[in-house]
């Protein structure tokens, strides 16, 4: 893989600066995971999202937003409980899921 190419089989870390490009202007639907290091359920949802990123390679992208560092984005999207996962399609929120759940339930609730 070339350095300037993204590895889409892994979740990408997104910041306020890259949000537009990575999420709003993405060609494929994006699961956005609002998380924090000290939130245990967030740490448990991470490997599930890694699996989804790999299984849905090219069809769905997984993006992670650290709410500690990106308070602006968390505020803007009214994140009130973490983990909060949004599914963005064509720049708009299509679905929202709050809390840790099984992979199959997560896929179903997100509607991917």
């Amino acid at each position: 893989m070339k350095n300037n190419e993204e590895d889409l089989t892994m979740p990408v870390n997104v910041t306020t600066d890259t949000f537009k490009k990575e999420v709003l202007e993405s060609d494929v639907p994006v699961i956005v995971d609002f998380w924090a290091q000290w939130c245990r359920p967030c740490l448990m949802v991470a490997p599930i999202l890694e699996e989804i990123a790999e299984e849905y390679e090219g069809k769905v992208k997984v993006a992670k937003i650290n709410v500690d560092q990106e308070g602006y984005l968390a505020n803007q999207y009214k994140v009130s409980s973490i983990p909060t996962l949004y599914l963005f399609e064509n720049g708009e929120v299509k679905n929202q899921v709050i809390g840790l759940m099984r992979k199959e339930d997560l896929i179903k609730k997100l509607g991917i």
Binding site: W38, C39, V67, K78, S81, L100
Partner: protein, 286 residues
Amino acid sequence: MHDVIVIGGGPAGASAAIYLQRSKLDVLLIMKDHGTLEKTGHIDNYWGFEDTMDGKLLVEKGLKQAERLGVKIIEEEVIDIEKDLMETHQFNVKTDKNHYEAKTVLLATGQSKPNLRVKGFREYTGKGISFCAICDGFIYRNKSIGVVGNRKFMSEELETLSNFTDDIKVFTNGHELMVDVDKPVVEDKILEIKGDDVIKKVQTEHGEYDVDALFIAMGTPSANDFALRMGALTDKNNIVVDDKFMTNVPGLFAAGDCIGGLLQIAKAVSDGAHAALALNKYVRAL
């Protein structure tokens, strides 16, 4: 450090403890009351009792049996269970009086009770209503927070939330306050949670209070509350376990009513036995 801490002294917990003790593991059973069976006057469908059996008495007999076989039993209220973030095999179980350490934990705390049953509760869950201060408290830095509860569980959550804001009210929802708190207390019953797309107000019998968030820590923590804090999977009101009765958190097991299925003594005893056998293998492989 104990090999296993069993939380709950009902048919699942006591059965597991008996099997674990007989496998020569160091097991500690922590319990706070007799659970659902305390109020079950007549048990007629459980094997082996010619006459009807009283639920509370059956639980007591099970605990005495466990004690006779060498199980250490203590009556304390478990407030929190922590697992080291590093992948060490160590759980810290915090009760209202002490701390205990174990390599594994078995949750056998019975069915997780449904939470606050008021209008708006479901609607605002995840939209300002939270069940975990350590998870969500930071989001409400310098905001107005309500905490619902009346015991140690609530005061622990209150302490965590105090790191984020001074503007906190305690709602006991009609229950007597059992702990000392240094925040304003509203003792009347909660009637409704109000808001627009997020929570705004708590309506009680005698007043209305502005809040940006409401943290629920009613009574004592349920299996679901422990699961949430440790990142264990739940499905509706039940803990999700694999065929070895282990959750997705390595070393955290669950059995009995808290994992759902048939809410019967026979099934809880069976769960306890199966979980104990799996725990024995797990501990010996560490």
